[in-house]
Amino acid sequence: MADAPTAPGAATLDARAHAWERVRHARDVKRPHTLELLRLMATDVVELHGDRLFRDDPAIVAGFARLDGRPIVFVGQQKGAETEENIRRNFGMPHPEGYRKGMRLFALAERLGIPVVTFVDTPGAFPGPASEERGVAESIARSITMLTRLRVPVVVVITGEGGSGGALALAAGDVVIALENAIYSVISPEGCASILWRTADAAQEAAVAMRLTAGEQVALGIVDEVVPEPGAGAQDDPAETARRLKPAIVAQLDRLAGFEIDELLDARYARYRAMGAFATAQPTGAPRPERPGIAERLRTLFEIGRITLGGPEPAPLRPQAADETDEPPLREEI
């Protein structure tokens, strides 16, 4: 299924297997991570270290690089390629100092007028006592806040696992690109299963229910563009993955460079302002819409996902949809 990554399997595989395959690919230890991708597609990479407050967090890498000559500031989670490195990098689970290093680089990017490209690949921020003591939640909140107002373009690339707040801390930007087998979720499928199903064994059901695949995230309006992966997945051919990803990033950088920064900030605000689905209560007694069957809704989602995966185009700036959010969103649209 090299050149038509989604088409042949999707219709015949059942939803669970389909979603879980993505989860396995997204977590594959051989998958290229931030530094490997940069090595393959960027030149003049300079990594910078430390948050200037506590220490350097190896779970987040940051620095300067050039994409086809264009300077960028990169910040991304970094998993290890084997066990030893994974332990050193804490399996890509950042501590607060990692996010504070990121913020240091965001500020520097703004001062230098260099656009930011973030690479998201984490199971989540590290949930241990040391992390809590140093304010991991605060660091995530500040990082998100800073990105929503940063006065340079921000391109987000979800390369693997987009695990909850720890991912979003680097994922609030003008445009969000995802590799085909990347996943994005509010909580890990195992975490969701252990809370709602009371057993982590239901992780596959949770993976389906949360719509965590890149294609479904496009359907939800959270991811703008999906970059197809070669072979059975990025792990099979990192070089080809980078070769496909680079033009997508460069195209977005060039597109965003055409906007006045205030215009861009307003569009960025409107992008997140419009996210969410709610209704305005109807007077009591009004008939509630019928729930279409789950199979039907799944089919709709996959259809949308397939269309998007088939031919990704540079995403237009999100329409200024803030005024439309009063309308009850129709399920059929999603």
Binding site: E132, I140, T145, A172, Y272, R273, A277
Partner: protein
Amino acid sequence: MPIKLPFRPRGGEFPPDLWTRCPSCGDMLYNKQLEKNLRVCPKCGHHFRLRVDARLAHLLDEGSFEERDADLESVDPLAFVDQKPYPERLAAAKVTTGLRDAALWGTGRIAGQRVALCVMDFAFMGGSMGSVVGEKVTRAAEHALDERIPLIVVSASGGARMQEGTLALMQLAKTCAAIARLAEEGVPYVSVMTDPTTGGVFASYAALGDVNLAEPNALIGFAGARVAAGTIAESLPPGFQRAEFLLEHGFVDQVVPRHELRDRLALLLGYLRPAEERVGARASAGDGVSGLGGFNPLGFLAGGGERETGRG
């Protein structure tokens, strides 16, 4: 659709609608007395969770609250089904709480000072933040900015609502962006964290107050203790993720007993006055005000009249 209530009343020696056992000191407390005491155990000071109506009645000047956007309700964008479809969970929560979702927002006065206030209620699906909660916090912040009055958010939440998937996660970005604009434009924001304030709520607007207050012994943390203990094979230190732990580590300004909260907010509001006009990054470079930040000694004269007119 059939509505199943998620909880059944606990049996015991005392009828539960009349008496409550304090989980901290074990005393049996007469409910009416407990309510009168703002649901704080008179013996040991344990803070029970407070419902949104009681919170509003306690914090705001009598009759000053005007609720906004009361008609927002959650929908089921993912068609989420776990052991029970999400719409059934919502319906059950509506019946047990009498609320449409886990947050209310509106305007009111604290000791005469006008504020935009958003209050969460843990009783509605664990106070979880879905699109409606995110939208209400954002609208409260945007209104605070428009009217140039301080924003207060009283949080009580287990975190983002899993049933809304990444749309719930995006509420972190939405609310953070709105809070960021307040900060840019010199409109103050006070975050009050009550038991519990965890997950995505703590990792977004709750952590971002110009002043962060917390109620005694409130559970405040990023990862639920179950997640933390499960992910890492470490036993957790005593007092971990409690309000006092946060105070000690510098993420909360004060731990304030519930009885003192209203007065403390009133005191703070005396200092937290919105700056006159746009002092943020977008102020033109030649604008003399921008360098002074929020310093605006006569601001109360300028804004007062306009603030009055907003009230019906």
